[in-house]
């Protein structure tokens, strides 16, 4: 039944819209205004569902260019996921080990992972770049980045 990509997306959007509508109908009421906080979300929810239905029956097929854009090799997808995972880890460690260590590790490993083979310059960039940034933010701009486990 779900032949085209549009139809799959449309079903997803309809489900999303219904979930959003459900939440909108459960918003707390506030008695002192003529238009309560649920009006616009409800309207948007119905609009989204309506547009998704239109998308479902949309006959226009994708152009070749668009199709090509979507055909990502499995291996590359894995690489993207891995980088996403690294960002996730970075955020997770950011406040625990501190900006300096987390950033140095991230730059070094992310660049290396993506195929940056010049070890020495990679090492230097991943040490100097975070240090300069840290100094700039913490001492000159007075914007505190997490110091983590380091004493400074």
């Amino acid at each position: 039944m779900l032949k085209t990509m549009n139809q799959k997306i449309s079903v997803f959007l309809i489900l999303f819209g219904i979930g959003y509508l459900y939440l909108s109908y459960n918003l707390k009421e506030y008695p002192y205004v003529p238009v309560d906080s649920d009006l616009v979300p409800k309207a948007l929810g119905y609009l989204l569902v309506g547009l998704a239905v239109l998308l479902f029956f949309d006959k226009s097929s994708e152009t070749e260019e668009q199709k090509k854009k979507r055909s990502v090799p499995k291996k590359e997808l894995m690489v993207i996921l891995a980088v996403g995972g690294m960002i996730f880890l970075y955020i997770f460690l950011f406040e625990i080990v501190g900006f300096l260590i987390a950033t140095a590790l991230f730059i070094f490993f992310c660049s290396w992972f993506l195929g940056y083979n010049r070890w020495v310059s990679n090492l230097l960039v991943s040490l100097i770049f975070p240090s300069v940034l840290y100094y700039l933010f913490n001492y000159l701009l007075q914007i505190r980045l997490p110091q983590g486990i380091l004493p400074f």
Partner: protein
Amino acid sequence: MGALDGLMQGFQVAFSLQGIMFVLIGVVTGTLIGMMPGLGPISAIAIMIPVTYGMDPSAALVMMAGVYYGAVFGGSTSSILLNAPGISGTVATAFDGYPMAQRGEAGKALAIAAISSFTGGTVSVVLLMLFAPALAQVAVSFGPPQYFALMFLGLTAISSLSEGSTIKALIAATLGFIAATIGMDAQTGTTRFTFGTPNLIEGIDFLVIALGLFAIAEVCFLIINRKDKSLSKQSDIGNLKLSKEDLKEMKGPMTRQSFLGFILGVLPGAGATIASFIGYITEKRIAKKPEEFGKGSVRGVAAPETANNAATSGAFVPLLSLGIPGSGTTAVMLGAFLVLGIQPGPLLVQDRPEVFWGIIASMYIGNVFLLILNLPLIPYIAKILKISRPMLISLVIIFSLIGVYSISFSTFDLYLLLIFGVIGYLMRLFSFPAAPFILAFILGGMMEQALRQALTASGGNLAILVSDPISISLLIVSALSFVVPLIRIRKKDATQD
């Protein structure tokens, strides 16, 4: 005292050695801060406040103003080179600036941005100087019904931002609007769709969405193409020189957007971000070749860059002549005025003319500084693109993350950034345009609030929305802008059949 005397006094302040020095420090700091994604003029000025305590007020304020418009000037750089908007006012610059850089014309894009910023900045300062007190009336003429009409006009333009499927553009816009409904509703205090986390009560920050949908999503494509040699021309900076045709192309947008951007900047709440979007849309609407927009059009870079800089000067009108801060940055500047012992308000021009005119006069110098500082630096700044791909990718990711962290100081927003990066990537995979999403996010939230403020005041009577000439004419224009393209399409279809 006449305006002319005042202006003379202002130029004396601005052209003194001290004045020139502080303008220079201000604009340089501003440009650098603007270039860093996330870090914007608000934080910079807030941090300067305790530092400037006890300084000569006009010098301090001239410097802070410099930081403000310097940041708007510099913000375009990272939009163009990395697709990572430096500040929220330069998100629209990425629409065409980044494709242009990808074509190997980064130098040209930066030059266009610098020249249009300079034009927008300078023309609007002239307007500011001539009409500041008079324009104060314009600033207060917009109440909730007029804002509603203005935002509505902006939203109707969404269909024009679509490339390909209109339905997809509308869906993207609806999703953007939905994202704007997250957080505490100002009119009732009801928390909407926050799932119980306090991190969402104040809503999602605009820059989280902008950096996610643009910078992080773009990173995904950079990763896939990191070994693609055919794209290596991207690291070419290209020729800096603009051809005669380019300049001719820029003339129209620059003239129109200097005025339009300035007016939008004068309106409290609108500001540089909205001005740049509306500038972009209007130029696309009236362009002879709208299909070039989004693919690296000269006009598409010139329009938002002129508009956001013009709006920045415009924002000084309500601040200096009424004491009303029209944006987050000017609100912080108001605080700076107070610390320095100056009360901005209708009496400022009489009580402290040297401050009032000093700031305005300094903006001339500041804009010239920005131009002569930026143009020669372009080849060096654009060298960022020469950094090898894997390293560039890591650095863009780090810059976006730090940018978001320096606004919210919470890892929650960093996760949000990652989520919006994923959403942005999926949207691009399935050909949903990101521009309508971001436009609806910023206009939608304001439109809802304006609508409900108006209806609360009128007791639910819809007539208030069409009760005065400004809102009526804005609504008529929005109706036309919706209908006319449809007719055009009809005609096109008819001739094709």
